[in-house]
Amino acid sequence: MSLRVYAWESYYELLKTLRQPAFVIPSLAFPVVFYALFAIVLPGNWGGYQKATYLLATYGVFGVIGPALFGFGVGLAMEQQQGLLRLKRVSPMPISAYFFAKIVMSLVFASIIYGLLSLVGIVFGDVAIGAFEWLRLGGVLLIGVLPFCALGLWIGSMVGGQAAVAIVNLVYLPMAVLSGLWMPLFVFPQFIQDLAVVWPAWHLAQMALGVVGQVKGVPMVMHALVLLMMAALFLVLAAINLRR
């Protein structure tokens, strides 16, 4: 099958997503508004940490995993419930094109969000990172979207549309807070800091903070491996659900 199918499938996935203000506005506005509030309106430092840069990394993670969880997870659950997925499966389209399009959508949203956060942080705030670091952070965030696509896939394959909305909300917001994406983890009690290792978002945030130099000596390979293993686990669980 030609690449054309993958390209058009991605185009229409984006088009239908962009026409949903209820998805677009919160996806873009939440991370940007929170970031502007905590890093720009209230600038400064926490000890050795420079707030605008530190929070660019963590709100970057917060921002990019939202569309992956909602777009991918809730989208899949809804479309499975509506019978759209079945319609794709009876066509000659390779089903991989369906998932490819959802990944592209998540990546495009991630790019837009990172662009907006950077605009706010660099133009209006005092983020001081070089072009190379900025690109590296973008790379980490975009690759980091993929394990959350896998998590969304698993949730979406497990339950129907409305339940998926509830579960994603239940996973997304607490995980974001407990991974230190909204507030740095050191403001939380010790046991919450210790617990953070179980959240994939914390591993991605550590990598993001590492590449912008806010956390020194981050074991990048270890965090990448943990994310890879989590992604593999989610994919296996999703495959089991989708096979039924």
């Binding site: 026409r19 509506q82 759209l84 000659p92």
Partner: protein
Amino acid sequence: MTNRVFAALRAVSKRYGAISALDGMNLEIREGELLSLLGVNGAGKTTALSLITGQLQADAGSVELFGGDPTEPQQRAHLGVMLQEAELPEKLKVRELIHQQSQYFASALGINETLELSGLADLAARRYEQLSGGQKRRVQFALALAGNPRLLLIDEPTTGLDVGARRQFWQVVRELKARGVSIVLTTHYLEEADALADRIVVMGQGRVLADGSPTAIKSRAQGRRVSARTALSLETVQSFAHVSQASASEGRIALRSPRVEDVLRQWLAADPTLAELTVEALSLEDAFLTLTQESVQ
């Protein structure tokens, strides 16, 4: 010349846990025919279609589509499918939906041709969410046509459509048949099968109960419904020749029979007190029920 077989189920069985959906089902769908798969809900029609479209795999027996395995996507290159329930993305426009679907097929129709054929030319710029229920069904039908299929499967096409929309749909189906498209439609309306099909396959309990022309199927299902107040027991009435489906309620016994005169002669002779006799023609639905139930016995 025998027409090519486009799709076939051969001795196919399929279970969902303890429930047997198909039980030794045999069916061949040939080039150029308009076949109607008729059966009550749960007869196995949708399961049969799901096997032919590659969504399910048979537990036993073989399933063939254009000479190959329908679970391989490329085998479905000349297949069009309209599912019973499939909502499309609300925010996309009719033309966009058809364009997207057309990308899946190497031999797709032009977008405008699909729009014309499905009567959607005037609605091409509307978003799916702005359409009425009947118009949405038409878009789903258009997606089934978009790939210029040689075999078109339609699952319960007119469920939820009003009479006018139903006739309109039939018109398009006839037009497609004239173009040489093989069509299979499942329905539980005998009327619909009768109006369109040149072959009817009646399914029940996961098997083929009857397979023939609409005329042949209807003649097998002819009969009348008789009911009367009687002093006889249900068992006695049931023992008369040519009685099917007798039931008693509130002092009356009702039955169906393909040879109602013979039944009445026996009944009147056996019960001089018989009263309030009514004889009415079976509706097509009744006739169809009689057929499925006779075949089970």
